[in-house]
Homo-oligomer: 206 residues x 2
DNA sequence: TTGGACTTGTGAATTTCTTCACAAGTTATC
DNA sequence: GATAACTTGTGAAGAAATTCACAAGTCCAA
């Protein structure tokens, strides 16, 4: 399959969110124009994005909301449940563990790890915090799909190395630290400081 | 000035992070090649990014770490302090309010707002939670530069409207909701669900 | 002062992403 | 069944971002 751009995948996510909203409101069909208006893009972009994966619409009519959202879920790999572990049970890690929005979308948080002995054994949202040392062993028995890194920047690379060694192939990194991983491992970063700096730039040069 | 791409600004942020690291370690100069290696890009990209703003390097030598980081801070608008308000004192809002990494980079959290009467009056990290109703009035006296939205998705648009009416011209949005704002207002979104979906896509089609 | 080893800055080439524009298909109405 | 009003899917055009490639500048050692 032709390589799909990151920007395309992000937009698919956005489209899916609207489609689910429409689904709830009982709307049966939607045009690329309507989808574009809400997603801040153009109808041509919507159609092009979808065209990479097939043709799902009806000319003259638009797209069936139910069908298109099912196809998008399929494309994005959201038909299955993903096993997620959170590493670092600090402020942000705990907030993530308590957030139920992820489970709703099929990302099930199965474990929380920390290296601090004072935290190990305590619970967050019904999950007992485990020692990070036990990750490699536990990952053998129940391989997680995604690791969320919520540790200090200074520890992020070594934790990432351990995660990779444990066989996990996707990382969501909250630490403001560029990670070096084999290219078989997918990494996404959530870098709030960088976003704020983007706003600072916009305010300064706007 | 020629319009600068978002992707360029993001990379400048990344470069700055490395430069500060080098500065701490007492390294005086750095080449575009070294900067690129750590940022996961190419030396040509680094030089092109910088060339939009001037020429800061010395041929044969590289860049002065101190000088380049000062220039980047200037370009990104990080020489001044930005006044930030957090709206929504829930799990994520509280984690952000307690995070001191932002202040270090010049983003000072000056107030936390919430609409829940049960939360108003309580404190997070030394800041008293205020009623959102008081925002427009208080913004008149001490205009904040940036509003961080950490409210439920259903409330995000109306809160954004209020923020815009209060004269705030930059928003960092944590709610999984596309915001409609005038184009004079800069918006960045931190959408963790979308990042997870990106990983799901990568794992499925990788 | 010459030569060799580096490194920047930048037009030009290339690649990637977005927008245009229109043939082709659908539905509704008379 | 003819016509009008829509809307998709997609090559082709256009715009934007990235990479190439090299002249020009710097440093150092002999
Ligand atoms: N809190 C925020 O709002 C926020 C915002 C932006 C970025 N971040 C980033 O997220 C990360 C976590 O931030 P936080 O505020 O939650 O910090 P925190 O100090 O509250 O939590 C960090 C946790 O990681 C654990 N830890 C440390 N080293 C570890 C290791 N080697 N292995 C496993 N666990 C380890 C600590 O015991 C602690 O529980 C940091 O990199 C921070 O820069 C946080
Ligand atoms: N917690 C997470 O890890 C996480 C992760 C991803 C996204 N998010 C998003 O961040 C947002 C906040 O999540 P949370 O987990 O902190 O939720 P939360 O329920 O813990 O907090 C939401 C807060 O917003 C306040 N609020 C509600 N309506 C308001 C309004 N109109 N004006 C002002 N304040 C209002 C509530 O009183 C509450 O204090 C949500 O949109 C959520 O989807 C959270």
């Amino acid at each position: 399959m032709k390589r799909i751009a990151d920007s395309t995948v992000r937009r698919l996510s956005i489209y899916l969110r609207f489609l689910e909203d429409f689904e709830k409101r009982g709307i049966a069909t939607i045009s690329s124009d309507e989808l574009a208006a809400r997603g801040g893009t153009t109808s041509a972009q919507v159609r092009k994005d979808l065209s990479f994966f097939g043709s799902f619409g009806k000319r003259g009519l638009g797209y069936s909301v139910a069908e298109l959202s099912a196809r998008l879920r399929q494309i994005l790999g959201l038909e299955r449940e993903w096993q997620v572990v959170i590493i670092g049970a600090g402020k942000i890690g705990a907030a993530l563990a308590q957030y139920h929005g992820f489970a709703q979308r099929g990302f099930r948080i199965v474990a929380v790890y920390d290296s601090d002995p004072a935290k190990v054994g305590r619970s967050v949202d019904g999950l007992v915090i485990r020692s990070l040392d036990s990750l490699p062993e536990e990952a053998k028995r129940h391989p997680p799909d995604i690791a969320v890194l919520a540790v200090p920047a200074t520890a992020a690379q070594e934790v990432a190395d351990m995660v990779v060694k444990s066989g996990i192939r996707a990382i969501l990194n909250f630490a403001p630290q560029q990670l070096q991983v084999p290219e078989t491992v997918a990494v996404k970063a959530v870098n709030m400081a960088m976003e704020l700096e983007g706003l600072s730039f916009a305010l300064t040069n706007g």
